[in-house]
């Protein structure tokens, strides 16, 4: 048995595709625009075009569609809750006007429409962010974040420190997952049972995992701090980088292509409905 094996959010799939080679800043910027668009769009044709666009990007990235979709599993529950809420709490004309056994079903056409739209939006949102993280390494992402945040340093946003924190956090997620898995297996070998009995017992049964996990997380933190200090890390001031971000012609084409599609979707949404 393998603990946490289904966690794919934020898992980078290395590759050399067009999508992988795009500048991470361009990818983040375009993703941000796309997210706004997803929330602005009302028409199903707009959603269809965005979906088609994301399919195309998946194809270009060379990542299996099946694998991208797996990332949607964890949010299905969230989608369900949103749908239920939107379904029952909107005013308008009832779908079933007659009372059945004296109870009227409080579902309206308007509620149904919002619910469906919300579900589509959430799915598209997760689809597009998964594509971003699947095709961009965490290091590239944080580099790009630091770069994009740099102008805000003047108003007191510690861009470098934020990016460094993010890099470290992202770097240690797989390590901690692996360690949890290992400790879990070791304790199971000692006959530990998890998730049995009442809530107190359940919480207690987690101690054999949590205690070693925390001990080691602190140890990792200490080691890392020592390693950084012994290499004279002093924060972002005057630091040069090994990987320089460069905008290439490919990024220009990506901007152009996405610009056309995104503008068309926006135009259709506001003016195109006949």
């Amino acid at each position: 048995m393998n603990l946490l094996k289904d966690i794919t959010i934020g898992q980078y799939v290395p590759g050399e595709s067009t999508i992988h080679r795009l500048d991470p800043r361009v990818k983040i910027a375009l993703s941000a625009v796309l997210m706004v668009l997803i929330f602005v769009v009302e028409s199903y044709i707009g959603f269809a075009i965005i979906f088609g666009f994301l399919l195309l990007v998946t194809l270009l990235s060379g990542i299996q569609f099946r694998y991208v979709i797996r990332g949607l599993k964890p949010i299905l529950f969230l989608v369900l809750i949103t749908v239920v809420f939107n379904l029952f709490f909107a005013k308008g004309t009832l779908v079933v006007p007659q009372k059945i056994y004296g109870i009227s079903l409080p579902i309206t056409w308007e509620g149904l429409a919002t619910a469906v739209r919300m579900a589509i939006r959430l799915i598209l949102l997760v689809f597009s962010t998964s594509l971003l993280t699947l095709s961009t390494s965490p290091i590239q992402l944080t580099d790009a974040m630091e770069n994009l945040l740099a102008p805000f340093k003047k108003i007191g946003i510690p861009a470098h420190e934020l990016a460094m924190m993010m890099t470290i956090a992202l770097r240690f997620i797989p390590v901690l997952i692996e360690e949890t898995d290992k400790i879990f297996k070791a304790q199971r070998s000692r006959g530990a049972r998890f998730g049995r009995g009442g809530i107190i017992e359940k919480a207690k049964s987690l101690l054999p995992i949590l205690v070693p996990l925390f001990v080691h997380a602190f140890k990792h933190a200490e080691d890392l701090a020592a390693a950084m200090e012994s290499r004279c890390y002093r924060g972002g001031e005057g630091r040069t980088r090994l990987r320089q971000l460069k905008i290439t012609a490919l990024d220009g084409w990506a901007f152009l292509f996405c610009g056309i599609i995104f503008s068309f979707v926006a135009w259709w949404n506001f003016y195109g409905k006949l």
Binding site: M1, I63, Y67, R70, A186, S189, R190, G191, A192, P208
Partner: protein, 303 residues
Amino acid sequence: MSNNELTNTSDTPILRTENLCHVYQPGTPFEFAALNNVNIEIKKGEMAGIIGPTGSGKSTLVQHFNGLLKPTSGRVLVENQDINKREKKKRDKKSKDSEKPVCFKVGLVFQFPEYQLFEETVFEDIAFGPRNMELSPDEVNKRVYEAMEWMKIDAENMKDRSPFSLSGGEMRRVALAGVLAMQPSVLVLDEPTAGLDPRGCSELRDILRRLHSELNITLIMITHEMQEIARMVDHLIIMNKGEVYADGAPAEIFSNKEKIEALELGIPPAMELLNRLQQKGFNLKTNITGMEEAADEILKALK
């Protein structure tokens, strides 16, 4: 001091795998076939060694022995019972302790077992396993003290200390005692000496040898060190790329020199010496792994 002759190996297989395959993360871009058609058999009372280059699937293999990993295909049999099947049957009957038999019959000690320490005192930590077996408090007590004695842990001074205040070598022994106290009939150790100083290594090896000869526990050890393992074990399994590369008695395996050298695992120094001497024209046997026996052989050749 090879104790190959002292062991009382019987012919009954205690652990067997049949066409065992394991695929990690199937259906993802990270899919990886870590084990491929592994067929091995460990006899009761044997001291077996598993060796192989890094990433060859050794740890994956032993995690099947007590049911931590389920085979993608193939079977694992402990005392002639398919460990994964039996569990299912019991679960159907709604038995509570579906995992009890396998998990307690085969004790698995992971690489760097100090990772598993968590209790407030050494005593409590060693008692964790036996308590999970739902033994009586007296029995738990008895087993903990026995395990401490076996692992050469000074019970009086150590039992009330926090396991986190111990030295690395002490932690390792406490962790091993924790598994030993469950009195498994098969003890599997994943790189038991990794990260210990030379003295700690040889002490631990002596303890393991005594466990094997005096308690007649079946021992399975994973290791990187060809030198040491070759003279300790009476059954050696070499893994490579998820497959069994060689399987048999060490002397037998080392007689095929080219095959072993191809893996670059190193050859026991005694054997290396005998090989070189043979190349220089001495007439002697080369399939000897222990230093003392090698010395005898050289003396014989010089006469």
